[in-house]
């Protein structure tokens, strides 16, 4: 009787870890595949697929790194995504404080306006943004992207930070009110330090989504290849030999440009998950 239960227990454990393993393979396999392909020779690409490279080579990486394109793209992406997230955090935390902690007429309407910004597809404002970027004279520069990316980073920054501000207990501010602090002082000296972890979280989310953006980057930097961001550089990459698609090189390039981001995500995994779920669970 006792033995039977133990066996069941062990079986259940094995089954459970098997499921976990299946999920991990499901999530990671394409990544592994790109990794393994990036070490294959171009000839191997046309043979029957093998799970491991038959003749491992570093040639692909050599090609990719010799050509400066991807390092420049990495730098551009880092600059654009960094500047966008800092900007959205600054602007967004002001708005979130007003929406989360202050009482005034028109608050709900403003919250809905912010939410509606997330609704339309980026393509529907592409031509309008194109004219504005042209008018402002920043077309073809990273500033065109820094100016336009808040379209999608700002709404969720405001939304998530508002829910964080609302979550702080009222007593925290009351002491400061008694001391005669102005609302702005309360924001800067009392509440902002308290939501610092949330700022890190939202900043990371804004960073990742600006890093991955493709449509605006493609259209606003098309004339200046030296300002291309990572997704555009990958999409446009045609390799040394123009006759055939250099798949192994593309995968090597993909590795070079994704590994920094993957590391970032792994290091800040807890923070990112917290931010993603703050928006969804508190709604």
């Amino acid at each position: 009787m006792m033995n039977q239960r133990r066996i069941n227990d062990i079986l259940r454990r094995v089954l459970f870890y098997f499921l976990v393993f299946v999920i991990a393979v499901y999530a990671l396999f394409p990544f592994y595949w790109a990794f393994s392909t990036s070490f294959k020779t171009e000839n191997e690409m046309f043979r029957r697929a093998t799970y491991l490279p038959q003749e491992p080579t570093l040639k692909n990486y050599e090609y990719v790194l010799r050509d400066n394109t991807f390092l420049v793209a990495l730098r551009n992406s880092a600059f654009v995504a960094g500047a966008t997230s800092v900007l959205s955090l600054m602007i967004g935390s002001f708005a979130a404080y007003a929406l989360g902690r202050l009482r005034f007429r028109g608050r709900t309407a403003l919250l809905y306006i912010v939410l509606s910004m997330t609704m339309f597809p980026a393509i529907s404002i592409l031509s309008g943004l194109y004219s504005i970027v042209r008018e402002l004279g920043v077309f073809g520069t990273p500033f065109a992207l820094i100016l336009t990316y808040p379209v999608f980073t700002l709404p969720f920054t405001v939304w998530v930070l508002t829910s964080f501000f609302k979550g702080l207990p009222a007593e925290i501010e009351q002491a400061a009110i008694v001391d005669g602090a102005t609302p702005f002082q309360r924001f800067r000296l009392v509440l902002l330090p308290l939501i610092a972890p949330a700022l890190v979280t939202t900043g990371l989310l804004a960073f990742v989504s600006s890093w991955n953006e493709y449509l605006f980057a493609l259209n606003f930097t098309i004339t200046n290849p030296e300002y291309q961001t990572v997704p555009v550089a990958i999409a446009q990459f045609s390799g040394i030999d123009a006759l055939q698609e250099p798949i192994a090189e593309i995968m090597a390039a993909a590795m070079v440009v994704t590994i920094p981001l993957v590391l970032l995500v792994l290091i800040f995994q807890k923070r990112i998950v917290a931010g993603l779920t703050a928006g969804a669970v508190k709604g």
Binding site: W33, F104, N212, V273
Partner: protein
């Protein structure tokens, strides 16, 4: 009306009344000047605008029809910007008059206005500097555009600092608490609203205006007003019944090799008008086999809507099911749970463009494609499939990629929801003898409903907007609403028509969002 108690401010003002009065008059004249300047600058810009001049000076003898003045104004300036500038002008003039009353509330607003004017001027100078740096080397840099805003910024900053110091000397009274909170709130919202107007409201307004014209993308010619023509051809959908092609000898419907029935085409007249049939659906009644033919003036767009809806429905459903399974599994306590969560974030973090190219490689149509190899090793398929070039397999392939990318992400959202469910509910359930499966359906699912709701809303809206994936995987072979829009805009340069497409997509997504919010009763507050 409440009486304001005498404060230090009043005493200070009384001690030096003349000083305060002069300062108020100076401020008043500055703001009256700024208000008038804003309004006249707007008028000057409108009357000297090249496009508007071209319309005003239109040569009536020319064979082309004269473009509309209203349209020229709308496409150059829109409604939002002129209204805002007029509003700012009027507000400044109003402040200019109110300052003489020397009430503290006015003083605070003047103070704020000075601050935003400083920031705005610095921003303008910065923008001009960026423009100068990014311009071609041989064009002269607009030095005035950098220097003058900086001088103005300096002036406004001085006003700001001066008011900081002598607010109490110039202005009297006390501000009530609510008014102050409102003022601070709007003030802190100004940057967000400014960004919102520049990058969302203005472009959207332009899209709407353009959808009524025949504008070309990045073109210089003055567009013509075409009314609802663009919408007419996009929404020109009709339903007809058609019979099958009849084989007299066999007295049966003519069929194709694969057994499907061949249908008669719709009336010649309709074909000449430009209608093309997108789908034929067999009807279950009628003597001979009958079918409903759905035809459209723009068959690519209708097809795109269909593709997008099917894509969204199937991928979101699959994602939800897989995500639920993943979330419930990972929710148990086990070693390496943190690592597992990190692993699940990776598909989401990789840019869609890169994951599309990754899958492009995995889905290669020979045995060189790993998906074919794996499926053949598992004896699920016998011959390798052409996932990306076979039209019937393109949509399943796209769904496969999308599910891979977003199911783990959705699982993380659900996981957070699961963790808010109190443990003792499960204990109580198992005391009552409920099985694990029973617990899932009567405890987990009902309590997870709000989280599922929110995740579904966001995922559906995302899926309806899908762009990167189809653009990279299929180009123009398999269009969704968004990639059709892109093809029309960038490759066919039909800005007016593409704008109408955008408006329709926007409205369609808005309808979906509304239905969802109603159905699931998702609280937004």
């Amino acid at each position: 009306m409440t009486f304001t108690p005498i404060t230090q401010y009043d005493q200070a003002a009384d001690s030096d009344p003349a000083n305060g009065r002069i300062a108020a008059y100076v401020l008043s004249s500055i703001f009256l000047f700024l208000g008038l300047a804003a309004i006249s600058l707007l008028v000057f810009n409108v009357t000297s605008n090249a496009v508007i001049r071209a319309v005003l000076d239109w040569d009536t003898a020319s064979p082309d029809p004269a473009p509309s003045l209203i349209l020229a104004f709308l496409s150059e300036f829109g409604i939002i910007l002129p209204v805002l500038i007029l509003g700012a002008g009027v507000a400044f003039i109003w402040l200019g008059f109110r300052v003489r009353g020397r009430h503290i509330t006015t003083g605070r607003w003047v103070h704020i206005a000075a601050m935003w004017l400083t920031i705005g001027s610095v921003g303008l100078a910065f923008l001009n500097a960026v423009q100068g740096l990014s311009a071609k080397p041989d064009t002269p840099v607009n030095i005035g555009g950098i220097v003058f805003p900086l001088i103005a910024a300096g002036g406004f900053a001085m006003i700001y600092i001066w008011l900081n110091r002598s607010m109490g000397r110039i202005f009297r009274g006390q501000e009530d608490y609510m008014a102050r909170e409102t003022r601070v709130a709007w003030n802190m919202l100004i940057p967000t609203l400014a960004v919102f107007i520049i990058v969302a409201a203005r472009p959207l307004e332009q899209t709407f205006i353009r959808s009524l014209t025949d504008k070309r993308f990045a073109g210089q010619s003055i567009p013509q007003f075409v009314g609802l023509e663009n919408y007419q051809s996009l929404l020109g959908i009709r339903l007809d019944t058609v019979t099958c092609r009849w084989d007299e000898e066999a007295s049966a419907c003519v069929t194709r090799n694969d057994g499907s029935i061949r249908w008669e085409s719709i009336d010649r007249g309709l074909l000449e008008e430009g209608y093309r049939t997108v789908w034929t659906i067999q009807l279950p009644f009628g003597e001979r086999a009958q079918a409903l033919a759905i035809s459209s003036l723009d068959d690519d767009f209708l097809q795109g809507i269909g593709t997008t809806l099917v894509f969204a429905a199937i991928s979101v459903t699959l994602e939800l099911l897989i995500a639920l399974f993943m979330a419930v599994t990972v929710n148990s306590e086990f070693a390496g749970r943190g690592l597992m969560r990190a692993v699940m974030l990776i598909p989401w973090a990789i840019p869609t463009v890169i994951s599309a190219r990754l899958w492009e490689l995995m889905l290669k149509d020979t045995t060189a494609g790993i998906i074919n190899r794996v499926l053949m090793d598992m004896h699920i398929i016998d011959v390798s499939k052409a996932w990306l070039s076979d039209v019937t397999l393109q949509l399943p392939a796209a769904i496969m990629v999308d599910v891979w990318k977003t199911a783990p992400f959705m699982a993380l959202l659900l996981l957070a929801g699961l963790q808010t469910i109190p443990k003792d509910l499960y204990e109580a359930a198992s005391v009552d003898g409920a099985s694990r499966i029973r617990q899932f359906f009567s405890v987990t699912l009902p309590l997870l409903r709000p989280t599922i709701g929110v995740a579904l809303v966001f995922r559906t809206l995302d899926a309806l907007r899908v762009f990167d994936l189809f653009n990279v995987l299929f180009g123009r072979q398999q269009l969704t609403m968004a990639t059709y829009d892109y093809e029309t805009l960038v490759n066919n340069q039909r800005d007016g028509y593409a704008s109408a497409v955008s408006m329709i997509i926007f409205l369609l997504i808005a309808v979906f969002a509304l239905i969802y919010v109603r159905l699931l009763n998702v609280e937004t507050e």
